[in-house]
């Protein structure tokens, strides 16, 4: 047993070092074709996993929908591949000293897909709709702090907010849509993005066409993009090999290995925007004891989880922040180590009054094969520390209702999607947050979080955020595991694919090589 353990640790380490080059490819359109010359025209089929939940950019919530709508709609600002904001419909913006007034200058001659130029009225309408000023219910909750939207002149819009928060600017990625289009019964989705909407068929997919009037010179390259729903990863692999899909962004580690050997695809990989963890319900026995939670953290062997489920391609997570948010991230993997420390775990359990271990139920949403596999590995690792864990696989809606909202569970393995705003993930761990499904309660955390939110000084803010991550990790509020990689397969004749720190499929820069 011992021999086996050490040998697979060694193997995991080897995998880590050889594959880290892969994970380091963040934000680069790597692959062989970056040097080849791009051409205009052509069409691609992109395989997607889920159906879209809404064609309304303000109402869409699923990550799988937002990644597509990113090509149709744009906000005043939009994210770029480095995690920064670039100006989109607005050519410039100013934030007042006190952080309460945002003044946006509209870019000249940005046209909607219907041919109309974007006016200040459209912007006013869109922001009011998203923030709830039209009918009282905000569609995008982060924008609910907006108290008024005023047109200063035909090219300038002023937004006033109730409380200052430096991170609010990230929420202005909210789509700008033509005035009145949110109420027009027969409206097709119309935005300002690089592609315009053509058609949508449930269970089949969505078709987009090139926006010839796009404001960014030279983009997009492709004439047509089809997002095709492929319901199982296995079908996707067959589709790729059969040629009915050109790009597939959700390869598993074994599929990637399979395709690498075939040679007709480029395999690109980058960290996703999801933090996967063994979330522990801090309110139930025996997890209400900090020592028990810490014991679980020590018992986990993140390196080997990574080796098993991601082929070593994941980044290990030690805190509730994406490393991509460099200014705010603090590296905390050392707190509990990345390999199992069974002695330490057993000692902590003994101190907590569980010298013989305890039973632990891990609820897992069964539609996520990745989380299910992680759970299988975790059960084995916890067993080594004397914790008798067992898996309770549930359907996604049951998970949402019972675990996430009802908080009626012991522990669960799932992933929490991040946003580009550093506060987004940390927000949920405040004692009274409605999203605090792990029932983490720490008065100090709440206080620091408030300070961080109201701070207008970036340095200070960064300090507070790092403090929050440390608090959460040291309290073992939850056992963070990893940031799973996104691995895509793309036909060899294509180039220009860009990874974003957020979950989008930007097709505007993709092209066929000569």
């Amino acid at each position: 047993m011992r021999k086996k353990l050490t040998s697979y640790l060694l193997m995991a380490f080897l995998l880590m070092t050889t594959l880290s080059g892969c994970a380091g490819g963040t934000g680069e359109s790597s692959g062989d074709n970056s040097s080849k010359e791009p051409t205009y025209g052509g069409s691609v089929v992109v395989g997607i996993q889920q159906d879209v939940d809404s064609l309304d950019p303000h109402k869409a919530t699923a990550a799988g929908t937002k990644e597509i709508l990113f090509n149709i709609f744009e906000g005043l600002v939009k994210p770029d591949e480095n995690g920064n904001l670039m100006k989109a419909v607005a050519s410039d913006y100013k934030i007042s000293e006190d952080g309460l007034v945002y003044t946006f200058t509209l870019r000249e001659n940005v046209k909607f897909h219907n041919g109309n130029v974007v006016t200040a009225e459209d912007v006013e309408y869109s922001l009011k709709r998203a923030s709830g000023l039209l009918d009282g219910t905000p569609l995008i909750s982060a924008l609910s702090v907006i108290t008024s939207v005023d047109i200063v002149d035909p090219k300038t819009v002023q937004v006033t907010v109730g409380s200052a928060n430096t991170e609010l600017i990230y929420s202005f990625v909210a789509a700008i849509i033509p005035k009145g289009s949110g109420e027009d019964a027969n409206a097709d989705p119309v935005g300002t993005g690089p592609f315009s909407f053509v058609s949508y068929a449930p269970q089949e997919g969505i078709v987009l066409a090139k926006n010839a009037n796009y404001w960014q010179e030279g983009l997009p390259y492709l004439d047509k993009v089809e997002f095709k729903i492929v319901n199982s990863p296995d079908t996707a692999l067959l589709n790729l090999q059969g040629g009915s899909i050109d790009i597939y962004p959700y390869l598993t580690d074994s599929q990637a290995n399979e395709l690498k050997g075939k040679g007709s695809f480029q395999i690109l990989s980058a960290p996703s925007d999801v933090v996967q963890a063994l979330f522990l319900n801090n309110a139930v026995k025996p997890l209400d004891d900090v020592r028990v939670r810490q014991a679980i953290c020590y018992a986990l062997d993140k390196d080997s989880i990574n080796a098993f489920v991601a082929g070593g391609g994941a980044m290990l997570a030690g805190s509730a922040m994406l490393p991509a948010l460099k200014d705010y991230y603090v590296e905390l993997n050392d707190v509990y180590g990345t390999t199992a420390n069974v002695e330490k775990a057993k000692q902590l359990m003994k101190e907590a009054g569980y010298p013989n271990g305890f039973d632990l139920e891990i609820t897992v949403p069964s539609n996520y094969a990745y989380h299910m596999q992680t759970a299988e590995v975790v059960v084995e690792q916890l067993k080594a520390a004397g914790i008798n864990a067992k898996i309770n696989a549930v359907e996604w809606n049951t998970w949402l209702t019972e675990c996430y909202q009802g908080r009626n569970y012991q522990s669960t393995i799932c992933g929490i999607t991040c946003d580009m705003t550093p506060g987004y993930l940390l927000n949920r761990f405040q004692s009274e947050s409605s999203k605090n499904f792990i029932n983490y309660k720490n008065a100090e955390y709440d206080e620091v979080f408030k300070k961080a939110q109201s701070s207008l000084d970036l340095q200070e803010k960064s300090k507070y955020y790092k403090q929050l991550q440390e608090l959460l990790t040291k309290d073992a509020g939850t056992a963070f595991i990893q940031i799973p990689p996104i691995t895509i397969a793309m036909k060899n004749t294509l180039g220009g694919y860009k990874f974003y720190p957020v979950y989008v499929q930007d097709m505007s820069t993709v092209y066929y090589t000569k």
Partner: protein
Amino acid sequence: MKALIKDYLKNFKGNRYFWAGLVMTLMILLIAVVGYFWTPYSTTEMSATERFQAPSFRHLFGTDNFGRDIFSRVMKGIGTTVFISSLVVILSGAAGIVIGALTGYFGGIVDEIVMRITDAINGFPSILLGLVMITLMGSGSHNLIVSLAIVFTPSYVRIVRSEFIKLRDADYIKRARLMGVGHIRILFVHILPNIFSVFWASMMIGFNNAILAESGMSYLGIGVQPPDASLGKMLSDAQGYLMTAPWYALSPGLAIVWIVLGFSLLSEGIRRLQE
């Protein structure tokens, strides 16, 4: 008399179906029993160095994505699967015989009501039924068996009922009735043996379906939970590795074919013996 027995034994010897089926089925049962107590490797212990090993002398059926020995897991899985599927088929088959016999033979208002209910169950999606069962009764393999038995019963009711309708008017039944034989005796002694060939065929199909339905249900979280092994679950897990590790899907897949084939050859043999 002696000649008769001799004849019978001769039949027995020459019945290749029977022997082939018996050997295949006994092998499966043997593996299931041995697997319950002992397997060559642990069925849950993982090894990162031994992921996706192709079949070899060390690992007869290769290893899976966690480096677990597939042969050991198939051994364990056969036990679980045979147990669950047999119970499902036995329960639903028994219910099908009783309900189908009574309704087909007597007809009338009860027949109408039962037929409406079986129609309703036929139309009702099993995935929704599964979700309801798990909410009401909680997860676990006994609930899985009950859910599947409910889903499978209507098809047996249909088959048995139509056979009984056909036979209830047969001359020999009419004669038996005239001679004063009781209904129950007619039902189960005079008619039932005559529908066995038809019924067996559907039992075998049901067995096959039960194995697959079990894996479908485990997706909803009912029944066998990982890391425990069942053939259906292994098969659905293996889906993701068809290209990289074809042996992973092949082993449980062929095990299912083996089990079902063994059973049906055996039943074919028994049927021929009776003829």
